[in-house]
Subunit: 508 residues, 2 copies
């Protein structure tokens, strides 16, 4: 595009993105290698970079350039440019709509509330956390009002839009309701079988260095480019698409839970392959800084991680390839373990209290509880003090289990304390997109299961790159879903997948 | 200090320093953990941060605040504040004196010349590099003129001042000349003995992980705080005083050169102890960003690294402590090695071609050759095309050796290619300061040698902290030297030290 304003806009966007990539390095380093005593000053460095980034991204010049480009008919006639302009506009408006006093208050209250949450959870004392939760929801309502509630929508939409652009609470509800009912039924059917697959081998000790070597071998098989990425160890695994040519994964190793690290690594590598597939590295077309080189949404990002972790990693075909290799690497730990045993062990379904430890079948129930409660709290139809009761009631209704205390109930997750409201649904959206894409993939790559059973993941990675990664934000999530699968997002593919899996493990 | 302009000045300085610390993290990461493909964009990140730093540090507001503070008699009456203002002024003037076109040209030519230098060295072709060297010296003359040549001084002083504030070429010459003559004599006396201490044990293989464990043990004994620092592996060892509470060292391991890594680690830890001793970490007095929390000069910094590497690390007392521990850690590699053998092995004196591989006795000769030539090239009294001849002539005169090719001669070091002119002398200044401080230390800590022989380095570290580290830039290097040792810097202590050592090893 020869338009001077458009060129300048892309240059400024690249600078903003470069600044935010520096912030990402500060975070990555803080979680991996920074010495403990460096923590106090790191906060100062990070906040300085965040401030400079905000200043650059909200500069009036940026707004003027966007407006000028939007008037240029030649520009907007180009689909790719139009997509960039749509997203430049969206980002600029969101950033400039929040008054800096509110931004500062959200940051300050969030930081304090997080500390209170830690203590309240440790002491199992919801009443201690309640006033902070109240305050954070109050600020989040203000935030939603600044963004603006869409006509016919609700405040929740304005918050959700930050993580899943274009998605509304009503759309989510329409998908989540049948999902919840059929999953609840599925979980009860499993419980009635009285079957409990042997999972004891998952607790056999495997040293961290062997787990690491195996994880790297799987990364290579997945075609994660280790010349343009790394794998390190942190308390909480994450993926940082830090910069062009620089995508960093982390995992964690516990001696007596080797599949935790394996699935953690495959999950983050799923995110990592998306980052590596975005058109930001190429020398031919260097779109770094433009929305065309950025991921669509958290839901689509999560679809990539969940696909590799669950649809690939928990399949029988995956273990046909991986089990002999794991046996070779892990030795005695896998003695006497056959394909059927490991397959069932990594696919058990059992209602439990903690979201992050939940299995594939019950995980989404945890998310749905949070979505319903967030929505009710934000609208005011649920009172803060009713949170524990409402939480426990839902766990009983949906999962059939009693919550013994708030520590293992409504106080378990950090998200709400720092205002991450509207974020939880993206975890389940990821599972939904993954399952829906998967059905299409199995049609378009008919021998995929055979390939997986041989550890050949190249065709799958290429498919994901071509169909999803390389487009960046060209399409909105719903458009992409329809373009790829021919249908709107629905609960059916995920339910078909989970029901099919339960049949192979529990026979119901 | 309650002065509002002074407070604001310190706040702005802290922001500039925080930005430059972010640049340091980008560099550290680039050398340690960044995946190879991240290199191209890293340059873009680093240059953006450098640009923002320059913009902040040269902001007119900073200049106005400095000027206002300089007029405030109450402020300048305070010695510490006066030192801060003196250095704020110096930094501001230096940064604002260079036109941005010259800065950009220096960066561009430097980057290109470095690539040419690499190729010229590989091809052993000085004529290829000559025009770039010519150009770089031309730009450096312009740079010196922008800084301003002091009355009665020369252009070299203006460049040297960047690394060793306040020092002049004439002062250096006055110290280097007797040093060169007496060292030359010493080297010849050693050669005449015909003695060649056995160094074969230094080449026995020791695995990197054992070297690393031993290195960490030595760091702990030196009281380098590993909660506020780290040790990693890079191609070229360095120390980065990255931020408050965050000082990072690197070293390298070659299986068949275990003392290289040991001395590399001790050298960088000497720098690291200086950084950890600066008053930037304390909660009581947080001076980070102010000159009072910064190191004085490269020469003083180097005195700290050389002291630990050489005066401590190559002493017999050090090996009385370290040898039994090394034997335990390294096993067979040190079989049959006794104290006298290892002491002589790490203290051999032998003229050689490559500066970075030179021993303690001949090292300074390499530096002096470069100083003389830099000065002559800058003044124009030496022509670029005469560089190889002049180089080889000096190596014959001073060290008695023939330079077989330019690759191992005048093309060996990268410094000149990117305009690092006036930097080399600080290596020898470090040795000189270290030896002069050491004589005072031995008087003030009479049983230091006994302490060293037991691996007790706490008193020494405390002395360095009290006398040098904690003052930051309060004193200029020459003031500090006089304050500590009662004398101006001279070649005598270093010569006494080296002559004493040669006596114990060669008997002359």
């Amino acid at each position: 595009m020869n338009s001077a304003p458009y060129q300048e806009l892309c240059t400024l966007a690249r600078r903003s993105t470069a600044l935010s990539s520096v912030g990402q390095l500060l975070s990555w380093d803080q979680e991996t290698y920074m010495p403990p005593a460096g923590g106090a000053f790191r906060a100062e460095q990070s906040s300085l970079i965040a401030e400079l980034h905000h200043k650059h991204a909200t500069d009036k010049r940026v707004g003027d350039l966007i407006a000028a480009c939007e008037q240029d008919k030649g520009l907007v006639a180009n689909g790719a440019v139009a997509a960039n302009l749509r997203e430049f506009r969206r980002d600029y408006d969101r950033l400039t709509k929040l008054p800096s006093a509110l931004v500062a208050e959200l940051a300050m209250v969030g930081s304090q509330a997080q500390e209170v949450w830690k203590e309240a959870r440790a002491k199992n004392d919801f009443t201690m956390f309640a006033p902070w939760l109240e305050r954070m929801y109050g600020l989040s309502r203000q935030k939603a009002d600044c963004y603006g509630v869409p006509a016919g929508g609700e405040r929740y939409d304005a918050l959700l839009d930050e993580y899943e652009p274009g998605m509304t609470a009503k759309q989510i509800e329409a998908i989540f309701t049948p999902l919840r009912m059929r999953l609840s039924d599925l979980v009860q059917r499993v419980a009635k079988t009285g079957k409990h697959p042997d999972t004891s081998m998952l607790k056999r000790p495997v040293p961290a260095d062997k787990q690491h070597a195996f994880g790297l071998m799987v990364l290579k098989a997945m075609h994660f480019d280790l010349e343009a990425g790394r794998l390190d160890v942190t308390t909480h695994p994450f993926c940082s698409g830090l910069a062009p040519g620089d995508t960093r994964l982390t995992t964690r190793y516990r001696d007596e839970a080797f599949t935790d690290a394996l699935y953690g690594t495959m999950h983050e590598a799923g995110h990592g392959l998306y980052e590596q597939g975005l058109p930001k590295d190429g020398t031919k077309e260097n779109l770094y800084g433009q929305p065309l080189a950025e991921s669509i949404s958290l839901g689509i990002h999560e679809s990539q991680s969940r696909m590799w972790e669950n649809l690939v990693g928990r399949s029988k075909e995956f273990w046909m390839w991986a089990l002999p290799l794991a046996k070779k690497e892990y030795g005695a730990a896998l003695d006497g373990v056959d394909l059927d045993t490991i397959y069932k062990a990594v696919n058990t379904v059992k209602p439990s209290l903690i979201r992050v430890e939940a299995d594939e079948g019950t995980y989404n129930m945890h998310v749905m509880v949070r979505f319903e409660m967030e929505r009710a709290l934000l609208s005011g139809s649920m009172k803060t003090m009713d949170v524990p009761g409402e939480w426990n009631k839902r766990y009983k209704d949906y999962l059939g289990i009693d919550v013994p205390d708030d520590r293992r109930g409504c106080l378990q997750d950090v998200h709400w304390s720092f205002g991450l409201i509207g974020y939880f649904p993206t975890y389940t959206l990821g599972n939904l997109y993954a399952a829906q894409f998967w059905e299409t993939i199995l049609v378009e790559i008919p021998d995929l299961k055979t390939q997986i059973s041989k550890g050949e993941f190249g065709t799958l990675r290429e498919w994901l790159r071509e169909k999803i990664h390389k487009h960046g934000k060209h399409y909105r999530a719903d458009e992409l879903c329809k373009k790829i699968t021919g249908k709107d997002l629905s609960a059916d593919p995920l339910l078909r997948y989970l029901e099919g899996k339960v049949k192979t493990v529990y026979g119901v």
